[in-house]
Symmetry: C2
Subunit: 147 residues, 2 copies
């Protein structure tokens, strides 16, 4: 599916505020709301749009720590881990990566004790490396059109 300039403008609106009404998007891009609605539906069907979410502040809801945890899985433990990781509430994102290490996870934790117990759950799967997140310098920056 091709994405024309109009669709990029719509995607820009939706990336910046997923709850913007179709009517408001229409005003900003210069078409009527049924046209916006149809274009959005087509992009959803083509899986260009994969969903709409809300950012909530982990800190404000009681998660005092955020960390990146890298896992180097033991022989034969990667596949079991790829299933297990889906069940951890602490894991916000999990990427499988190339290189010596296999997995990077972004996790939210209550406190140091919670971090310790979480890492304890990982040690049966492999060696871990923990990097505490000090600040989120760029947050979910908008994906832009290719030149």
């Amino acid at each position: 599916m091709k994405i024309d300039e109009l669709n990029w403008k719509i995607l820009k609106c939706l990336q910046n505020n997923a709850r913007m009404s179709n009517a408001e998007i229409g005003r900003q891009v210069g078409i009527t709301s049924p046209a916006v609605s149809e274009r959005i539906k087509k992009m959803e069907d083509a899986e260009i749009i994969q969903g709409y979410t809300t950012f909530i502040s982990p800190f404000e809801v009681g998660y005092q720590l955020k960390a990146l945890i890298t896992l180097r899985a033991f022989m034969g433990m990667l596949k079991p881990f790829l299933e297990k990781v889906k069940t951890y509430d602490e894991v916000v994102n999990c990427y499988r990566i190339t290189g010596n290490e296999n997995i990077v996870m972004e996790v939210v934790l209550k406190n140091q004790k919670h971090l310790e117990s979480f890492i304890d759950q990982l040690i049966s799967f492999g060696e871990t490396k923990t990097q505490i997140v000090l600040s989120h310098v760029v947050k979910h920056s908008e994906i832009k059109a290719l030149e």
Copy 2:
């Protein structure tokens, strides 16, 4: 601000689909839409809710590579980098972290050539390590209430 059970149910709805109407949320949690609207507004004002966004598939819009790039900044180069990184369209997320390395970025790229030219832009700031993302195992999992 305290977050009661009702607000957690609202946050669950909004995290799973930011475009759900207040009326529909109300039906699912058992209150009327003006009540939903007021609760959402208070959570926005308290910065518990930090925004609403749309996931778009980088691959579908022409970004064939995703990578995690770690930067170990040269002496005196961290601060300039923290400003510069905001201007890179490739960087979707950027975290400042503890440890030997200072920065981890999630980046989207057109192809290997684009990766090469992007890394070239980083070498004046520090040493980089690149991990290509093979798959996104857990995608923006919902943040849940603490026990």
